[in-house]
Symmetry: C2
Amino acid sequence: MGAMPSSTPTSPTNFTRQLLLSRSHPLQRFDPIAVVTTCRHGQEVCRQGQAANYWYYLVAGAAMRCVTRSGGRRQAVDLLLPGDFFGLIAGKEHDTTIEVVAAGTIVAAYPRQRIETQAQSDLQLEVEIRQIASETLSRLQTQLLILGRTTAQEKVGAFLLAMAQRLSNGQSNSVALPLSRYDIADYLAVSVETVSRALTDLRRRGLITFAGTRLIEIIDRHALDEGDRE
Amino acid sequence: MGAMPSSTPTSPTNFTRQLLLSRSHPLQRFDPIAVVTTCRHGQEVCRQGQAANYWYYLVAGAAMRCVTRSGGRRQAVDLLLPGDFFGLIAGKEHDTTIEVVAAGTIVAAYPRQRIETQAQSDLQLEVEIRQIASETLSRLQTQLLILGRTTAQEKVGAFLLAMAQRLSNGQSNSVALPLSRYDIADYLAVSVETVSRALTDLRRRGLITFAGTRLIEIIDRHALDEGDRE
DNA sequence: CGCTAGATTGACATGGGTCAAAGCGAGTGG
DNA sequence: CCACTCGCTTTGACCCATGTCAATCTAGCG
């Protein structure tokens, strides 16, 4: 029995399935047997310790891969955005919990066993899986570089640039953040207050402007990247 | 032309090659065509921006995958220990510099083109490459969890546990650190002084003891993991 | 025996965590 | 249409941990 499909009775509608089919991705040939689910904010797609019976693909919205520390603090490992796969790395059990952070998030679940079996005799599929692993690697490395920054302003600045890159392929200077300041804080390993202060500081310094609480306009990419002090 | 083989005239000795052959690993079948090199401390195996013509395997010693920030600060992304592969993720160019941090480090370089070509018609090889990617993923995720810790003592404590796990598979409580405090500092994104202070604090609290500057004995694994405040 | 890189320790300023309070905004019910 | 409410966001006050600068100590090596 799998994690998500059993816990969410929502059946895939024509609309969400069409959304899935409209985008090209490595496991596309398995779309017909995918279980597509629309999730609420805060819902858990799968939980740490559960059997890992599915591979997941995020179609729309946003989710975080995280662990909960003994102190109760949540520690985010990965942020999943539309087009991202997750759950492929896991062994028999999930090593992290996947938590939906944006309302209306759509997740596709692919039966792991079925794909793994086919991969044993399908080189093309194996190549596609490697492709997914490579993208995940790249994502984690970017996040490592962000967490390695020293000041909070640098972290937040680099985070905004990374989001702009991932959400619109760097085309646009507008970033519509699909997560709350709390979620950003957990992702950047700082406190909520610090995220808020860093954002207002960046605004005061003229590196960004707000077009809404979660809609940010990037003004000075270079300064955001460098974290230049005044 | 490749990065390392051309820059290091050292020819593989029988000894180092025997060392390579003595260990079982995914690309083992290519060992006969691998270029094995012994590196000095500080030597660069490959540099950010260079053409990525080789896949690398660290046989002995230690190296760090890092980028240099505009401020001159070095930012480590990955720490390579014996048995680790690196350079597989790269596109046409290396996105990071690999710097040897322990004297007598032995690196094996495998011609990338040759392996990629064979992988196009060799499913077993493709599976082994996926295996390597999976191990890299796991390493980066562990590091993300360490960088996500709040206090320096937590970071250093978790780092020591991770090193114990990787160096002796968690069997032993002795950790022989193959890198300097400076390198640890870059890897944990804190200052050298903070690393030093954290270590002496952990010693004073009785969680570890020193059997030499870089030889640490782990006393209380649980407390190191939790970072318990007294 | 001195040299030098690495390691530790101290003094000091500050960035960011914590606690507390107030502001804001969207959805809900009257 | 408005008032209410509940999350989310921002701001302030305070203090500790950590970065920085500087000095000292240690160990390995010629």
